[in-house]
């Protein structure tokens, strides 16, 4: 095998009440990475399209490059005999950067899965997670897993703890439809973190973990209405909403159009809503876009089921 082409999907992290612990994968949009065996040993990024020249081509500063290099280093140290050539990555961005849809995670996961396939699949999907997390360290300063894990594994993924890493795969409820509206403005994750208060009342924390528990129950029971109620987030959303013009209006429009719940995707500015049918999710997406338009903000809307598979190998040859 000389080349592998892999798609990895957009992901929604900080799922309403489940701030910092839960993420899920969409079916689309996503990023595609082609990995080839070529040239001298090491990792090279030969091309990035669709990024408006915003992403570093230097593999040591690019999340996909860093992750694949970490994977190669691990395999080499584990006694795996690497090919005499290096790995070249060609990244096709389908996801907007800084939109709260796990853009860097999608590229990173696609690259790591492609490289692993190219080398004969020495590691399982779950074993690839720590290397994909290395890319997140470059992208946002901390090795978060709530976007990379669902992009890699599909469905809803829960990160119980980081030390030790405890990652729990939850189902992808077939009846849950997601509408995501991404307004044309960029937010930096660290700006979105800076607005958060450092402490919360015990009462609010208890209400929040009741919602998080109910969200997980709704996911297992495939109860979309319960999932919607349980998205309620009285801690993070009110603070981060300040950074997203029109958030409350767009959320109200989504709920009025039939969504069972709505919150910020990742650290924003994208907004996601949950619905119980494709028709409802389409109507909700249209309502969110119209509300952004009323506020003179352009937006892109995607409607998708929860993706049960995560990254997908599209072609190899």
């Amino acid at each position: 095998m000389k080349s592998v082409r892999v798609f990895a999907p957009a992901t929604v992290a900080n799922v309403g009440s489940a701030f910092d612990v839960l993420g899920f994968a969409l079916e689309s949009p996503g990023d595609t990475v082609v990995a080839c065996l070529a040239g001298a040993p090491g990792v090279r990024i030969t091309d990035i399209s669709g990024d408006q020249r915003l992403l570093p081509r230097d593999p040591e500063r690019n999340t996909a490059g860093v992750s694949v290099a970490a994977l190669l280093q691990h395999l080499s140290r584990s006694g795996y005999s690497l090919p005499s050539t290096g790995i070249e990555l060609r990244i096709e961005k389908g996801l907007p950067i800084g939109s709260g849809l796990g853009s860097s995670s999608a590229s990173t996961v696609a690259a790591v899965v492609a490289a692993n396939e190219l080398l004969g699949r020495p590691l399982s999907r779950r074993e690839l997670l720590p290397f994909a997390m290395e890319g997140e360290r470059v992208a946002c300063g901390a090795a978060h897993a709530d976007n990379v894990a669902p992009a890699l594994l599909g469905g809803f993924v829960l990160i119980r703890s980081y030390e030790p890493l405890d990652v729990i795969e939850l189902p992808a409820p077939a009846g849950a439809w997601v509408s995501v509206a991404s307004p044309s403005l960029e937010l930096k994750t660290h700006d979105a973190r800076r607005v958060l208060k450092r402490s919360v009342s015990l009462e609010a924390a208890v209400a929040q973990w009741g919602n998080v528990a109910a969200l997980v129950a709704g996911i297992f029971q495939g109860d979309v209405a319960l999932m919607g109620r349980a998205l309620e987030d009285k801690i993070i959303e009110p603070e981060r909403a300040q950074l997203i013009p029109g958030f409350f209006e767009v959320k109200a429009a989504a709920l009025a159009a039939g969504a069972v719940g709505c919150s910020i995707s990742g650290s924003g500015p994208s907004i996601f809503a949950l619905s119980g049918s494709l028709e409802a999710a389409k109507a909700v997406g249209t309502a969110m876009q119209q509300e952004f338009a009323r506020l003179s903000l352009g937006s892109v809307v995607h409607v998708s089921r929860v993706n049960p598979h995560g990254a997908a190998v599209l072609a190899q040859g």
Copy 2:
């Protein structure tokens, strides 16, 4: 039908990380209530055994009496034709009072279920919940549901919110065994509430709701080891443990004897531990009792599965 005899089980609330939102039912011990149609209209308590004369016989101050009266009032207002006699309750306490095992809830639930059966079962189990909660208001000043709901419905029960009341029934994992050790000392719930800090760091709250989410996932997946890890509570347990002599030693003994997790039952002083087999749960119970004995504290130990059914009608005639 003239008389109904109902058993309602002990319950563990404040399940580790899931403070104030989750409870589950044990198979034993529990309380038994006999309800009879007799005398003038209204509710009377004709006898209470096993309470060391600690509980009020006045039906307006007794949790079981208050709950049955609330049920009768509701049925009367709903146009249900009540019998011309009243309802007499005989309560047989099998649960120690103030031990953190939902003692008042067990009596209340048994009484409400018995009265409902006696009247021809006008309401479903779930419909009885608000009336059982009225008893909790008498017992602890607030209409909590985290003991009464599992005593009534069985399994693990999640209380997502109180306004509106949103109660979610979770499974009873067949592989989970519970050891409960009740030391011979009494704690008042309001004393146990008083030690709690009013605010928590966002970081601790996030870790806690990651654990709560994982606990619910473990319950659905029947993954007892995950349930055990997810009991970890860094917010409530460290503060309430101060009120329970030997808590940390007993917990360490339980874990050393094979428990996958251990925490305070309710607001204490009972301590519960989770294990993956009956043999392990027995060894854990013995270890907990020995540790209490080393501290010169007598204790009673119960080993039980999670009770999937809740209150049970034992006899009617």
